[in-house]
């Protein structure tokens, strides 16, 4: 519709009156960035606007010289008559929903979000609006997450069991967001925590933002020996699976933390001993609750189960349609996507041993390939 505040263009989601884009995937003059995951924050834009807590990661990834303006949550600026403000999305540190107000209309673009608070970033806040642009990564009712408490009880029990049996506990997880969430949530009294070189720089960013993380070790630190590793929880990006870096852990137990682990098929395909159901994205009830919470009568659905969500929302009386985007899902980082390299692998991996290798992959359910 001609009056829409956000429309889909080949470059990305575009706001015509404001003449800027939200998370564009091709280089543009002005980009509002919802969060620093690489499929949302890409290189080559002339101006960036993002949340204050995203500044560190964005600069590390995209270069110190990017033209970056930052806002706190709830703080607003006006651009060509469009009032722009950022609101917590609960996805990762600095993640924001973008609220646009113009000519009496209010639109909110969610970026990626998660409704359950996890203690490592500002919890999701429903923002009242007329039109809501929602992600749909886990847009099927089979996806219902365990509570934080139940999840960490499981991870702790697994770690404790391994430590008692003298086996390292290697937990594969995405380096930005999920790793810090695990660090924040586990019972660090069980044993030492070792992190892969791709994870530690992100820990520094979180610590700088005031998030409490336990002490973390690197395998190259002095005093690290085989006896210590046998009791350790090791956090590594999925790309480390099957690489020589893993050899030092000997006969270790491994696990994978991802929302996709909800399904038995994906768990088994992943080829690890355990799958922990843990996602930075909203589960099905979370998506429904978030959409209802905005009071929006119109909903655009992006990346994930677009067709399913559009049909479901339409049947429930909302005006829903899909937006085709090129966002992926960071749970899915090894799957080739048009976005090329993703954070966590390309970024800040000064660990010389952490070179790539044959990676098993996850399904691409989260990719924006399911056009309605």
């Amino acid at each position: 519709m001609p009056d829409d505040l956000v429309i889909a263009r080949p470059e990305g989601l575009y706001c015509p009156p404001g003449d800027f884009y939200i998370d564009p995937w091709r280089p543009v003059a002005r980009a509002v960035i919802t969060h620093a995951h690489s499929d949302h924050a890409r290189i080559g834009h002339a101006h960036y606007l993002a949340h204050t807590d995203s500044a560190g990661t964005l600069r590390t990834r995209l270069g110190n010289d990017i033209a970056l303006q930052t806002l706190g949550y709830g703080e607003a600026i006006e651009h060509h008559g469009v009032r722009v403000s950022l609101h917590p999305a609960g996805h990762v540190l600095g993640s924001a929903q973008v609220r646009l107000e113009h000519g009496g209309r209010v639109w909110v673009a969610s970026g990626d979000y998660k409704t359950e608070p996890d203690g490592t970033c500002a919890p999701f806040e429903p923002v009242p609006c007329d039109t809501f642009i929602t992600e749909s990564t886990f847009g099927l009712p089979i996806y219902r997450w365990p509570t934080q408490g139940a999840l960490f009880a499981e991870i702790d029990a697994w770690w404790r069991g391994n430590a008692e049996a003298g086996r390292a506990s290697v937990l594969f997880c995405y380096a930005f967001g999920k790793a810090q969430r695990i660090l924040h949530g586990v019972d660090a009294s069980i044993g030492p925590v070792v992190v892969h070189g791709a994870v530690e720089p992100l820990n520094a960013v979180y610590r700088a933002a005031g998030v409490a993380l336990p002490n973390t070790l690197r395998v190259t630190d002095p005093g690290i020996d085989a006896a210590l590793l046998k009791r350790a929880l090791v956090l590594a990006p999925p790309s480390a699976q099957g690489t020589p870096w893993m050899r030092r852990f000997g006969n270790y137990a491994d696990a994978f933390a991802s929302g996709w682990m909800q399904l038995r098929g994906t768990r088994r395909r992943r080829g690890v001993d355990r799958g922990f159901v843990m996602s930075d994205h909203a589960d099905w009830p979370g998506l429904q609750q978030a959409i209802a919470g905005t009071g929006a009568s119109r909903v655009f659905v992006t990346h994930g189960s677009v067709a399913v969500m559009v049909r479901w929302l339409t049947e429930n009386g909302l005006e829903a349609q899909g937006f085709k985007t090129e966002y992926g899902d960071e749970d899915d980082q090894e799957t080739p996507s048009p976005s090329g390299g993703r954070l966590g692998r390309g970024q800040a991996a000064p660990d010389a041993e952490a070179d790539g290798g044959p990676h098993p992959s996850l399904p691409t359910e989260g990719e924006g390939a399911t056009a309605p």
């Binding site: 089979i142 399904l263 098929g265």
Partner: protein, 551 residues
Amino acid sequence: MKDFAALYRELDASTSSLAKQAALQRYLREADPVDAAWAVYFLAGGKPRQLVPNKLLRLLAQEAAGLPEWLFDESYEAVGDLAETIALLLPPPTEAHDLGLARWVEEHLLPLRDAGKSAPDELPARLRAQWRQLAAEERLVYFKLITGAFRVGVSKLQVTQALAAVGGIDPKRVAQRLMGYTHIGGRPRAEDYRALIAPESGAEQVQKTSGQPYPFFLAHAFNLPLEQFDAVLGPPADWIVEWKWDGIRAQLVKRAGAVWLWSRGEELVTERFPELAVLGEALPDGTVLDGEIAVWREDRVQPFAELQKRIGRKTLGAKLLREIPVVLLAYDILEWEGRDLRMLPQWERRALLDELVTRVQHPALLPSPMLTGIEWSDLARQREAARSMGVEGMMLKRRDAQYGVGRTKDVGVWWKWKIDPLSIDAVLIYAQRGHGRRASLYSDYTFAVWDGPPGQDDRKLVPFAKAYSGLTDAEMARVDAIIRKTTVESFGPVRSVEPTLVFELGFEGIARSARHKSGIAVRFPRMLRWREDKPVAEADTLQTLAALLPS
């Protein structure tokens, strides 16, 4: 029920057979024998008759989850398993229970079948009352027992081994005792379980009456170029040469009036091949033959696919037995008149075998013919006929070889000299999601070849084979991503895609077929490799495929 669900989860989660074995043994040691009896029944492949129609189950689950049918179907498609889908969709339990597996099966599950007949109106309420008590983990197992899709990556052999370890007895003995245990109407009791793991009785141990087979002697692959044969093997005269049959390796044991047929996996398959059981009865006591089970019709061996039709069947009707008759292609004799012959040289055993076959004169017992040649090149020429004969190549057995144990080479050696598979470059045109481990992933593909030569403008791609194996997980994920980006149309679970992907397909056999659009059927197609280097226009044609047909 909780312990069994935990065992299921542990078996399912692990990729290591050692860990699975440990979990099985731990469960069996700790479980109440009443429950262990049922656990063994299910794990070893037992399936009660259908308890609840799947349709009703779907309907009730949909209703309980408050979902429209289409959304239930979408969920099912993503999960790939009905029991798991339902377990994921139902609202959380509102009650608790502390019943063991046996009581759940006997008091709750099995009565559902009769309830469905006598009081179908009450069935929904009964089911709801049952699943309300079960935690998510138990529900998966509960629904799997109902839908009959109880597979957990544990073979009957692994269960046999666990029982043997718990009882401290020979796994082959357990396999014998397990015969009939997983019968469809079976109601295993605690004493049945105890009998499985009891110490061997005196009668069981007497070789004369025992049904035990000998450990199979296994062959090694031989792939050297022909020029090196003389240097490595010596002259053909030192060898017994036979066709390598594409069937099921088996030992037929006849002792004390009873017959046992063992497959190479040390699995008892007597009940699946009644005609070989009849043959066994015609043999004198104290005889053990080694050979290959194969379908034999019109004086020749039939493709393995024919044999598969029989393996897959639960009940063997007279019609099936008539249409797909099997024989034992015997090539060795391991016991004669109660004496272990394995130390005799191959040629002596073979002579004895031939004598026996001639004497018995049974239509289901054929000697695997011996092939002769002065030079290896003579045999190589005969081997060229392997494909058209439906065999995999040749077996080379040293004339003086004893019958060893497993893959040993110290007392003699058997070589398998196999032919290369046929192959063709084909284009992926349809994709379908897989099941189980591959649910959510487009992993089952239909392949096509061109119906005209390159340059012909109006040529089309004609589908000719389906394949789903041969790719690594990483390759499959990449192919899956491409399929999603190049989808033309979706028909239910199937997508048609733009032809962009070329694969080298290998297959074991090829034949004309009126049932296939291409007019050709191939056997055991699988992906040998992804030809990322090859443009679609250079894929093979129907003509190249037809040229592979045996004349």
